[in-house]
Symmetry: C2
Subunit: 365 residues, 2 copies
């Protein structure tokens, strides 16, 4: 018998996030007054978009984004394997940066550890290096904090946390917030490499901890022979070089890029245009998501927590879709047209009967 | 009867840090190849200095630094008071930035929480705002991660961690690594506001947890009536505006600035000059450090873990010391000449009979 698992029940209160953040974000936004426009100040990109931009000069904007790896780290500990989470860390940040059109140049990492484990740290470093290479950025610095009293882990002595900030450059006139998206624009989905770095609490619970769960070392149900551990730890795909290639191709007008992370396709609601998105040709969800469904996660929860096979949603003017597909394929991953922009706001997934305004989760369509 | 507490015994292995980091730092340094000079690359400032610098244009350098608050967060939890640690977070980062002469423009924070506590988050935000105001920087973005399964706290439901990256601007030709320090240069100490954000594990153990310790609510022994809690939570002083004022004063040549954090005066060994420092007129340590000594912390451990009353060591050409003192006092804090640069390398503290090469801790003088 399968059990039902909801995202909130797995320890992450997504719905409550907005209200809980209001006080904090009020102070953050107010601080922008200390750097008004013309003094290396903000370019009017809200902290809620994929990245913020500081105008350093009229010709040079600095895009900034912050993110962590989250509980994928616990899976790494369970597997005693630490050379992939550094890639996830870089990926989560640089994929956000490139959404506004910025070219990543630098990453700064924060590594909090229970104890100084040279081999574990070396493996983390190896992943950071691989992620930096895939994004064309340098790791410019970081902090290693020994705060054992503040951390919990899944393996004695190996508790740690990872977060980072990524920096990129962009001409201030070229910041892409998706304001130009028009009804009829085509949405191309670039395939994810798995569940990336979101929803791991729920996935751990369903695939490892639950009664009757396959467990870490079992083959992933429906997979190509990889274990559950391999499937869960698969590093987040880095879309930077493909995205920059497409953005620089003058034959295509890329009207928006949306990194599909926690919240799933609801991330497209961040796009500045008043359009909505009808995603009526989504690909069949890869095996890992089918295994989560088979483990009892309701469809609504799946689509609220996971990328469901699409890691980057690329919106282009009609006619640009062929190039958007080609670029992805030339980088070695699958891509398909997943839908189009609509005059009506909201994200609609008719294939699974769900819709969302971008806040408060998906509802029946 | 007092007990002896060493820094290592309080859970932080300072001596082992170098070796444990070697593998990680190897990958970090190697990643700099992805951004060679002329491509928004690194300016040759090693990741071990207070901040790194990326050369965005021949006229514009971007200084970057990362740091966290560490276990001061546990003290905040014990006190159920969260409006000061945001100041500490900003301070630890911007005080590093200004050491190389950079002007902070932006801060990105990472807040990891056990649960979404709106009031706690609002208080953290208030501190971030105050720190941003004191440093003239905007909080440009951040990440709030709910990772309860990875955190431990001192109060149920209130576990959290705080880290940040600070960004500043500096002309690439003006990056100050202290290479110009010469024997005879005068070292002025700008007073700290307390123990700042280092050595809190040891302080907590000695002043709160140990048998016979005064405890959080007792008056600080030798203090001015403040409680141990108040003394421990006193926010880290932000030296940015004073430092920038002094750096811009053409009547003074500031040859080095060293933020005195974990490692104490050994931080001065980071200064690029081959000089050493004879600190023979250090101020009397403030009450908090005397209380730690009375609690059994050996002198060597005190000077290895704490600022001992000096939060920023400002090295100037002889004749500049009066201005360095005045600027600090005009900002409302004490300052005094604490020593001078010497031809012989190493940091010497004759008043307490200690010396250090900058690595491996203090030894008897």
């Amino acid at each position: 018998m399968t059990q039902s698992h909801t995202y909130a029940a797995a320890g992450v209160d997504v719905a409550g996030e907005g209200a809980a953040l209001a006080g904090l974000l009020g102070w953050v936004r107010k601080s922008h007054a200390f750097r008004p426009k013309g003094t290396m100040g903000h370019l009017g990109v809200d902290v809620g978009y994929f990245a913020s931009v500081l105008e350093l000069t009229p010709e040079l904007g600095l895009a900034v984004a912050a993110d962590g790896v989250g509980t994928k780290i616990l899976v790494a500990q369970l597997c005693d394997r630490y050379d992939t989470v550094g890639i996830d860390l870089v990926a989560m940040n640089v994929n956000d940066l490139v959404c506004i059109g910025a070219e990543p140049i630098s990453i700064l990492d924060y590594i909090a550890v229970e104890g100084l484990d040279p081999d574990m740290l070396e493996q983390i470093g190896r992943g950071l290096y691989a992620g930096a290479e895939q994004s064309g950025a340098a790791i410019s610095g970081g902090e290693l904090a020994q705060i054992g009293a503040m951390l919990r882990g899944a393996r004695p002595g190996k508790a740690f946390d990872l977060a980072a900030v990524a920096l990129g450059t962009i001409h201030p006139d070229k910041v892409n917030l998706g304001a130009a998206v028009e009804p009829g624009d085509v949405v191309v989905g670039w395939a994810s490499s798995g569940i990336h770095s979101n929803g791991l609490s729920l996935a751990r619970r369903v695939l490892i901890d639950a009664e009757g769960a396959p467990g870490l070392d079992a083959p992933l149900p429906g997979g190509a022979g990889e274990t559950v551990a391999d499937a869960l730890l698969e590093p987040t795909r880095i879309y930077v070089k493909a995205a920059l290639e497409l953005l620089r191709d003058e034959s295509v007008e890329v009207t928006a890029l949306a990194h599909i992370t926690g919240g799933g396709f609801q991330n497209m609601a961040r796009i500045a245009s008043s359009c909505g998105y009808l995603l009526d040709t989504l690909p069949t969800p890869p095996a890992i998501f089918q295994a989560l469904a088979a483990g009892g996660v309701p469809t609504k929860d799946l689509y609220e927590a996971y990328n469901m096979g699409v890691g980057m949603a690329v919106t282009v003017r009609p006619g640009g879709e062929e190039r958007a597909l080609e670029v992805a394929r030339s980088h070695g991953w699958e891509a398909s047209v997943i839908g189009r922009a609509t005059a009506e706001a909201g994200i609609k997934l008719p294939g699974v009967g769900l819709q969302s305004s971008g806040e408060g989760g998906f509802k029946p369509l």
